[in-house]
């Protein structure tokens, strides 16, 4: 074969040809070829729209909000547009991810003055995204279309899920990441592949940054997924690989708390778990021995399918699919176990909302059982499993609104005053809650809006407003000038509040600032310190009080606005 070197003419001719731009099909055609929306996709979009609508309806028509949800949204607003420090508002009490997820929505809502809706919108997105994750799990498990749709719909249309999708709390976020983790878990135990392992760790990492129960969930799922007695060394490495990312996330959060709050384990102290004394428990749960049946009851009324999974596990413990069933039940069991532990130590609230994750575990259990239990009556078996999801959608809300079982404020407001008007059978027929939470919220909202309207009227461009980080940081939610607000971490707050001249102009806090009101004492601990006014500045009380504006409708917990006026004793307004 003779080699012929190319001549210059042929090179140049080829060059002209080569240097032409490659032709691409139009963008719309490429998008069309990529986007295919199945029935689960349609359900997702419809549910997202529905969740958003319910969120606005709850806030604007029912005048309802959960205090903790507003606190999270306030964190997000401070992080996104508030004054320094940038991370100052994250992780005061709670894991940070639900707040961070809200951040992208804040700038979009600011022009409309509705930054308070960042929470419900983010929770709606999280819950809606859980639906395709569940659908993906069903697909990976080999379920047929109608069954896949039934499971997704049975989960997504559960009123309890609708409520948590719309209330801006962290449950939707945690449910999303639990679903992702379980998708990874159930596929990894079959495939042992790296992509499934990554899915598992991503889900667990997100869960760790969302819920305090998640570290235990991580350990449990890692052990169940990774442990293989025959290859112990390899399985230990697998467990390490599963645990490492959530552990790093958890460590990072602890470092943030250490920097901001002075203690890496702040989440274990203060108001998060401390001395809550089961305020939402009815009197019937008075004896410690009743803690387990109490917890089991809540898990099963919210997710009756878990009982079937438990039955299958007991019936066929040596089945090849047992590992998956154990993982599902252990995952749900983590939430029970922590509630029982807290109750026995008198450190929990006894709030049934800690069990709502049972709904996603139940949906996953249904998908798993449908894929692993071949029976002669397949269709009937599958239909009955989906029926269990529907049953949970009825027993869950009815139990949550039963005054003899719990005194939880959010659910009773939503179901009794809202949903019951549309679907009466979901409302309670039991004696109403003895705690007067349901009717107080309109006053609270009005109080904050009033306060912000007042501040907007007096704020000059160079003014800064310091707000305390316990009761009054909601003040940032309706103002037109959120970038002039400062919320500092606990240590800095006391320093600045003690010597504010030149740094801040106004302060919003609770009670008598000279004596150190509740606002400067971190939640749950008098020992965190009191505000000490050094006498080198004076405050001018601008507004006396807006009744009903703080966390609880107590006389000494209403927000008050002060202005720093100079280094002399305070002058009366």
């Amino acid at each position: 074969m003779t080699v012929v070197l190319p001549d210059r003419a042929s090179i140049e001719a080829r060059e002209d040809e080569l240097w032409e731009s490659p032709a691409l099909p139009p963008l719309s055609a490429r998008l069309r070829s990529r986007i295919r929306i199945g029935e689960v996709g349609v359900l997702t979009i419809a549910c997202l729209a529905g969740y958003l609508w319910v969120g606005f309806w709850m806030r604007d028509d029912l005048h309802f909000f959960v205090n903790d949800a507003l606190a999270r949204t306030s964190d997000a607003v401070f992080v996104t547009v508030g004054r320094d420090p940038h991370l100052g508002a994250i992780g005061f009490f709670w894991p940070p991810l639900p707040q961070l997820i809200q951040c992208p929505f804040v700038p979009l809502l600011l022009p409309f003055g509705r930054q308070d809706m960042a929470g419900p919108i983010s929770s709606a997105f999280c819950m809606a995204l859980t639906i395709p994750v569940l659908g993906r799990l069903c697909t990976r498990l080999g379920l047929r279309r109608w069954l896949r749709f039934g499971i997704c719909a049975g989960f997504a249309l559960n009123p309890v899920m609708i409520y948590y999708a719309a209330n801006g709390m962290s449950e939707a976020c945690s449910i999303l990441f639990i679903a992702i983790a379980m998708l990874g878990f159930l596929t990894f135990i079959r495939t042992r592949s790296t992509p499934d392992l990554i899915t598992l760790t991503v889900g667990l990492s997100g869960a760790v940054l969302t819920r305090l129960e998640a570290p235990l969930l991580t350990v449990v799922l890692a052990v169940v997924a990774g442990l293989e007695w025959r290859r112990l060394r390899q399985s230990l490495w697998t467990i390490t690989l599963i645990i490492l990312p959530p552990a790093v996330c958890f460590a990072f959060w602890m470092i943030v708390q250490w920097v901001l709050l002075g203690s890496p384990t702040f989440f274990l102290s203060g108001g998060q778990l401390g001395q809550a004394g089961g305020v939402w428990l009815p009197n019937t749960i008075a004896h410690p021995l009743l803690a387990f049946p109490w917890a089991l009851h809540w898990a099963l009324v919210l997710g009756p399918a878990l009982a079937v999974a438990l039955g299958v596990l007991v019936w066929r413990p040596l089945d090849p699919n047992t590992r998956g069933t154990i993982g599902i039940l252990a995952g749900a069991g983590v939430f029970l176990a922590i509630q029982i532990y807290e109750l026995l130590n008198n450190t929990g609230y006894g709030d049934p909302r800690y069990f709502v994750t049972s709904v996603i575990f139940a949906a996953i259990a249904v998908a798993w059982l449908a894929s692993t239990e071949p029976t002669m009556l397949n269709r009937a078996w599958n239909a009955s499993l989906v029926g269990l999801l529907v049953l949970g959608a009825i027993t869950g809300p009815r139990s949550l609104t039963n005054g003899r079982l719990t005194h939880i404020e959010g659910e009773c407001h939503f179901f009794d005053y809202g949903v019951a008007q549309v679907l009466p059978f979901l409302g309670t027929s039991y004696p109403p809650s003895s705690v007067d939470f349901c009717g107080r919220n309109p006053n609270q909202l009005a109080a904050w809006q009033h306060l912000d309207a007042y501040l907007d009227g007096v704020l000059q461009p160079r003014d800064r407003v310091l707000v305390d980080n316990f009761s009054n940081f909601y003040a940032v939610l309706w103002t037109r000038h959120p970038n002039q607000f400062i919320v500092r971490n606990d240590r800095d707050w006391q320093r600045i509040a003690a010597n504010p001249v030149g740094t801040v102009t106004y302060i919003v806090t609770v009670g008598d600032i000279r004596e150190g009101g509740a606002g400067v004492v971190p939640k749950g601990g008098e020992d965190q310190g009191r505000l000490i006014v050094n006498g080198n500045h004076a405050v001018w009380k601008l507004v006396a009080a807006f009744p009903g504006g703080a966390d609880f409708a107590e006389a000494n917990a209403t927000p008050e606005v002060y202005k720093y006026v100079g280094p002399r004793p305070p002058a009366a307004n």
Binding site: V3, L5, R8, I11, L18, W19, P195, Q234, W237, P245
Partner: protein, 528 residues
């Protein structure tokens, strides 16, 4: 203010003078290029050498790295540098902020890109898989002729093993030619090679004339002019290719669309357990060839080819004027030129085992050459950004800049950001607060916390099925990043003073280990 303004003006004047001088030099540059003869059917030695050295430089001077910066790049660089230095005197905070923000954005984008590539590679679609049985069963009559080019320089110690490895290639003898490309004055290697070949005629020695530049791509170009196969591949002297690799590559190219001009085989090491450096190197190669390149292939982005085991269609090599003899990462450059010409590259599931660099100094030499070559490649192809954009599109242009440019740049910037971080922890200077506005701060924080962990975690995942020592090496991989930064600093200085200088990598450092293994069979096994 007056002093600062005067200083800024002074710098501007100096920069302007330097720019004018550069322009004057550029205008005197000769454009009288050599013309390759087309009148003879059989090339002379002079033609071969001219093609090897000047082929690309004559046909497409703007794609040759014989000068790293084009006149316009040099002038633009001078202007930008001058303006930046002048601005430092007047608006130093703003300038520093812009520099920090730009670097952080590059960091952030590179992190996202690598995560995306990793994620894409997990689906396994970027790699063409042909199993051994299928490769063996392919009809011999349909296999194309193959030329295997093996350049070697001052490597007499590996010749015997090299020839043995090449003879293990499973390909019909009448359709394969193996060309050993040796420098004509490298008598030691020539003698060793002839001894290893013996009387057999299955391996042919081609003596490459002593002519500057003495680089591997020049030898390859010269070997190409002597080759006859319709498919061309290259191996390094220490390579141990999968015996079925030629068959697999031939099948892959046969089945691929015609615009797939090259398939790259995976590179791995036969001495991964020699020491901590080889373990890290193995992890890095595993990431590179199993995750990043398949990911790039799926994105249709320009693929910086690996140094060996790439299999080309012969006609494409000639169309593109083969390798650039002045580029020290000629493989990466060729991959980009192929993409610019509308060709694509693929990745096949066949492994060539190489020798992992086990010596720190030797490793730094090799790595700094790679970084220098990547920088060269970036600068060469960005001489006309609009042309490049028209040829490969915006997305691919960004991918090219982030991947080929970002790799050395990030290694170079790492020490600076580590220093900033330590400075912050030690002294809490207020200046850093001003230089890191919210968006930059958050991006930097995400890169530092999430990015570093994710990269380390990806390394751990890539050795999921290996032994505990490899896992430990994966956990310690941040120390490897320090080595990369040292190499990047060396590369940055070299690109200024000796851009085309080919720093030879010494091979055969694993020989002692092999002797040890033979003496002590119970010691840890060497893969494969």
């Amino acid at each position: 203010v007056i002093v600062r303004t005067l200083l800024a003006l002074g710098v501007l004047c100096l920069g302007g003078a330097f720019w004018l001088r550069t322009r004057a030099k550029a205008s005197g540059r000769s454009t009288d290029f050599l013309v390759v003869s087309s009148t003879r059917s059989r090339p002379t030695e002079s033609d071969r050498l001219r093609f090897s050295v000047d082929g690309l430089r004559e046909a497409a001077p703007d794609l040759s790295a014989d000068h790293t910066l084009s006149p316009s790049q040099r002038a633009g660089g001078i202007i930008a540098l001058t303006v930046a230095i002048a601005a430092l005197f007047v608006l130093w905070r703003v300038v520093l902020l812009i520099i920090l923000a730009t670097a952080t954005i590059v960091y952030f984008a590179s992190m996202l890109l690598r995560i995306r590539l990793f994620q894409l590679a997990l689906n396994g679609k970027g790699i063409t898989r042909i199993d051994d049985d299928e490769a063996r069963a392919f009809p011999v009559d349909e296999l194309p002729s193959y030329s295997v080019l093996v350049p070697a320089f001052r490597e007499p110690q590996v010749c015997e093993r090299l020839v043995a490895n090449l003879r293990h290639l499973d390909y019909p003898a009448d359709r394969i030619e193996i060309l050993l490309l040796l420098e004509e004055d490298d008598s030691e290697t020539i003698d060793a090679a002839r001894r290893a070949i013996g009387n057999a005629n299955d391996v042919r020695v081609v003596l490459v004339p002593d002519h500057a530049p003495r680089t591997k791509p020049k030898a390859l170009n010269y070997g190409l002019t002597h080759s006859r196969g319709s498919l061309i591949t290259i191996y390094d002297a220490e390579d141990r290719p999968d015996p079925l690799q030629l068959r697999k590559a031939a099948i892959a190219l046969d089945r691929a669309p015609h615009d797939v001009a090259c398939v790259q085989a995976e590179l791995a090491f036969f001495n991964p357990t020699q020491n901590l450096i080889t373990r890290w190197f193995t992890i890095e190669y595993s990431m590179w060839f199993k995750q990043l390149l398949p990911g790039l292939a799926q994105l249709d982005a320009p693929i910086p080819l690996g140094g060996t085991s790439n299999h080309f269609r012969r006609e494409v090599l000639f169309e593109l004027n083969a390798w650039d003899p002045f580029n020290v990462t000629e493989d990466a450059d060729l991959g980009v030129r192929m993409r610019r010409a509308g060709y694509r590259s693929g990745v096949i599931d066949s492994v060539t085992f190489e020798e992992a660099n086990s010596d720190f100094i030797n490793w730094v030499k090799q790595r700094s050459r790679w970084y220098k070559g990547y920088a060269q490649t970036l600068l060469v192809h960005l001489r006309h950004p609009r042309t490049l954009y028209r040829q490969i599109g915006l997305r691919e242009l960004i991918l090219f800049c982030l991947f080929v440019g970002g790799t050395p740049l990030l290694a170079l910037l790492n020490p600076f950001f580590w220093f900033l971080m330590m400075l912050w922890w030690v002294a809490h200077p207020a200046l850093l607060d001003q230089l890191m506005p919210t968006a930059v701060y958050f991006m930097g924080l995400v890169c530092f916390v999430a990015g570093n962990f994710i990269f380390a975690y990806m390394c751990m995942l890539s050795v999921r099925h290996e032994g505990p020592r490899q896992w430990l090496a994966a956990l310690l991989v941040p120390l490897y990043w320090v080595m990369m930064s040292i190499a990047a600093i060396k590369a940055a200085t070299q690109i200024l003073v000796a851009p085309s200088f080919w720093e030879k990598t010494t091979h055969g450092l694993d020989v002692d280990l092999e002797a040890q293994s033979a003496a002590n069979p119970a010691s840890e096994a060497v893969t494969p």
